[in-house]
């Protein structure tokens, strides 16, 4: 449901951006707005609260962001508020980012490590993955101690598991499936 709604706004903005050649600027602006919403809780509350009339919300948003972001982005924001879809703003930003990456043929890979990765690792991985896939790769680093060791590379909903946790799980399955009756 979220995606269904969010994707529609994101796509509309992206298509306008493509016409004007402003796609990257729009993303920067969207992220700028999103960051502020995340940073200032009262702002988010003001935008999302149903008791605040939409005209007031729009006034706040225009006053805050008018000089700082593109007009099209402000208009999108106002439209979102008019249609009472403000709780989807984060989803819209995410969808826009996804569509933008698709457009620019960029793969986003999330790399999960158990401990903080060495500083040169992202660059190295990026080079290798770019070479392998033949597409531009953007790397997001993430830490998750539960994988114990090794790394996991997640692209969209595919996971390449090189972690200790994954191997242990595999071993567990293997041992569980031993044909007991055959010994």
């Amino acid at each position: 449901m979220n995606e269904l709604v969010a994707d529609r706004y994101a796509r509309a903005l992206l298509e306008i951006g493509m016409q004007k050649g402003n796609t990257d600027v729009y993303y920067r602006d969207l992220k700028y707005i999103g960051d502020h919403l995340n940073m200032y809780e009262p702002l988010r509350k003001a935008v999302e609260a149903p008791s605040v009339p939409s005209s007031v919300k729009k006034n706040i948003l225009i006053e805050l962001f008018f000089k700082r972001v593109e007009k099209d982005v402000i208009n999108t924001l106002c439209l979102i508020v008019d249609k009472e879809r403000q709780q989807y703003i984060d989803d819209i930003i995410r969808c826009y980012w996804k569509r933008l990456n698709e457009l620019k043929n960029i793969i986003v890979a999330t790399v999960v490590t158990a401990v903080p990765a060495p500083a040169d690792m992202p660059a190295k991985l990026k080079a290798t993955l770019t070479k392998q896939t033949g597409r531009q790769v953007e790397i997001i680093m993430k830490e998750d101690p539960s994988i114990i060791g090794g790394i996991q590379i997640i692209v969209d909903d595919n996971i390449h598991d090189f972690s200790i946790r994954g191997r242990l799980d595999g071993l567990e399955k293997h041992m569980n499936n031993l044909p007991i009756g055959k010994f």
């Binding site: 995606e3 909903d157 595919n158 996971i159 598991d161 090189f162 071993l171 041992m175 009756g181 010994f183």
Partner: protein
């Protein structure tokens, strides 16, 4: 088992397995649980998942993909939803759900996934089959032409079932639907017909008592029990019949014969309705989803008589449907009626009248079984249905006054009453086709017309014993030729005459003192009244000495039967 295995040996084997294990790093597709409840999980991602695919949750339980939506998929969880959290990863397995199959399962009680429930350790099968598969197509089949005996007179004679047939058993609650199915399983000879009993949504206690019955009659070793009891989640109830069907198919495709009982498909439809409503599929008539017909048709179509090229195996299905207040025109019963090759209709009123099995001969049909009947049975049972129909019509008149009826009608009623009586049968006492032919011949020809109706069943028992000890060639010939030739008929008539003489002159029917005079009067009556088709009897003096011996044997025989 004499010495304990040393820990070193176990360690060695484990070490070997661990060192043999090579971690394969594969690309795998995963999704994230975004909602869980009512045994349905909404999973985000898994863009490559196929409909019907098996998924694996982090907690170890599996799920089946049921709905593929634009960004999410809905899947039903096979097992407990406890331990599944929002945000957990869900992995694809790339296969559809499979169950273990094969002879190793015989004698076992398993759940819908083929996991043992009987505490007898793991099921050591080597083969697995997917639970969903397409039914054999037209050229892979051949007509049903071999009988499958249930051992129940009313069914084998009037509603015969053939191997590969789908015969529905339908009736209200407490009319003996399961009893018929159980009798049919008990009547199967081990290693001739393998049986699968699928219990869907039944009380665990009923399943336990059914298992006890199989054990008692030594048929558990020939039976696989797939149990999805009332406390299992709807998803397990939903897949249970398909799992059982896969086990039957394994026998069928290996040239063997299988008998599968689905007990019962109404509860299966209810479980599927529950799932469908939770999956937000639009409800249709009686709130069942639109594909509830396909739910049962794809299951029952998988029962077939395979062609000779494919080994000629068969899978006979006995789906059970429970009706509410005798309403056969409800949604599920009409669906299954149209899918199956006939139905055995059990009536509550008939049941309460004491005619058990409570088969309503008028409403029950078998569309293909007739061609599977042996000619001997056909010959004897041919007129039975007509006789019964005529009797029922006349019986309505008889309620006013029997005096008014003409001789022919009175005879019809006499015979009808005795046929009805002879079709009664105790539970767990299946009869061979030859025994059935003999007794049906006895009543159909009017040999028992002069006897009071209540005596028919005791006479039947005695007659079986007599026939078995004195005329074993009768059964032998029926089994060998399957025909009821003129010479065989003569033999049977001869046996009947001898039996009558014996019965009339002997006192092996022991009653109380008061009844005795009455009884002997009846016996005399029977002796003096000419029966249709039978000639007047003469007691030959030379028989006297033989008679004593026969009587003794019968007494022994009936006694041993009672135990």
């Amino acid at each position: 088992m004499s010495t304990m295995i040393g820990p070193e040996e176990i360690t060695r084997i484990l070490m070997r397995e661990i060192s043999n294990y090579t971690a394969v790093t594969e690309e795998s597709n995963f999704g994230t649980v975004i909602q869980i409840g009512d045994n349905i999980a909404q999973v985000y991602g898994l863009s490559d998942a196929c409909a019907g695919e098996l998924l694996e949750f982090e907690s170890g339980v599996n799920g089946i993909v049921m709905n593929l939506e634009e960004y999410t998929i809905s899947c039903v969880i096979l097992g407990t939803e406890i331990g599944i959290k929002e945000g957990q990863k869900v992995h694809r397995t790339g296969r559809i759900i499979e169950v273990p199959v094969g002879k190793e399962l015989l004698g076992r009680v398993v759940n819908s996934l083929g996991d043992p429930l009987d505490g007898k350790g793991p099921v050591n099968t080597t083969k697995r089959r997917p639970i969903e598969c397409t039914a054999p197509n037209v050229i892979e089949r051949q007509p049903v032409n071999r009988p499958l005996y249930t051992g129940i007179k009313a069914i084998d004679s009037l509603i015969p079932i053939g191997r590969g047939q789908r015969e529905m058993i339908i009736g209200d609650r407490q009319t003996g639907k399961t009893a018929i199915a159980i009798d049919a399983i008990i009547n199967q000879i081990p290693d001739d017909v393998y049986c699968i009993y699928v219990a869907v949504g039944q009380k665990a206690s009923s399943i336990a008592s059914t298992i006890e019955i199989f054990k008692k009659h030594d048929r558990l070793k020939n039976t696989i029990i797939v149990a999805a009891s009332a406390n299992d989640p709807a998803s397990m109830l939903y897949i249970a019949p398909y799992a059982g069907c896969a086990m039957a198919e394994e026998f069928m495709y290996n040239g063997k014969d299988a008998l599968i009982v689905y007990d019962d498909l109404s509860k299966h439809a209810n479980a599927y309705r529950e799932l469908s409503l939770l999956l937000r599929r639009p409800p249709g008539r009686e709130a069942y989803p639109g594909d509830v017909f396909y739910l049962h048709s794809r299951l029952l179509e998988r029962s077939a008589q395979l062609s000779k090229e494919l080994g000629g195996g068969s899978s006979t299905a006995l789906p059970i449907i429970e009706t509410q207040m005798g309403d056969v025109s409800a949604y599920i019963p009409t669906n299954v009626i149209s899918i199956t090759d006939g139905q055995i209709y059990l009536d509550q009123e008939i049941f309460h009248q004491g005619n058990r099995p409570a088969v309503d001969v008028g409403l029950s049909v078998s569309r293909v079984g007739g061609s599977a009947q042996i000619s001997a049975m056909k010959k004897v049972a041919g007129h039975l249905r007509l006789d019964l129909a005529q009797y029922r019509e006349l019986a309505a008149f008889m309620q006013f006054s029997s005096e008014e009826l003409d001789k022919g009608s009175q005879l019809q009623i006499l015979r009808g009453q005795r046929i009805t009586e002879a079709l009664k049968q105790k539970q767990f006492s299946p009869q061979t086709p030859a025994s059935q032919i003999a007794i049906l011949y006895l009543v159909a020809q009017g040999h028992l017309n002069s006897l009071p109706v209540e005596k028919v069943l005791s006479i039947e028992e005695a007659f079986h014993g007599f026939l078995k000890s004195k005329y074993p060639q009768f059964e032998k010939e029926i089994v060998q030729t399957g025909k009821f030739s003129d010479s065989l008929e003569k033999l049977l008539i001869e046996a009947i005459e001898k039996f009558k003489e014996l019965y009339a002159s002997s006192e092996f029917e022991t009653g109380t003192e008061g009844e005795k005079s009455e009884e002997s009067f009846e016996k005399k009556l029977w002796k003096t009244i000419d029966t249709e088709g039978a000639e007047a009897e003469k007691l030959e003096g030379t028989m006297e000495s033989d008679l004593y011996q026969i009587k003794k044997e019968i007494l022994e025989d009936t006694e041993s039967n009672n135990h």
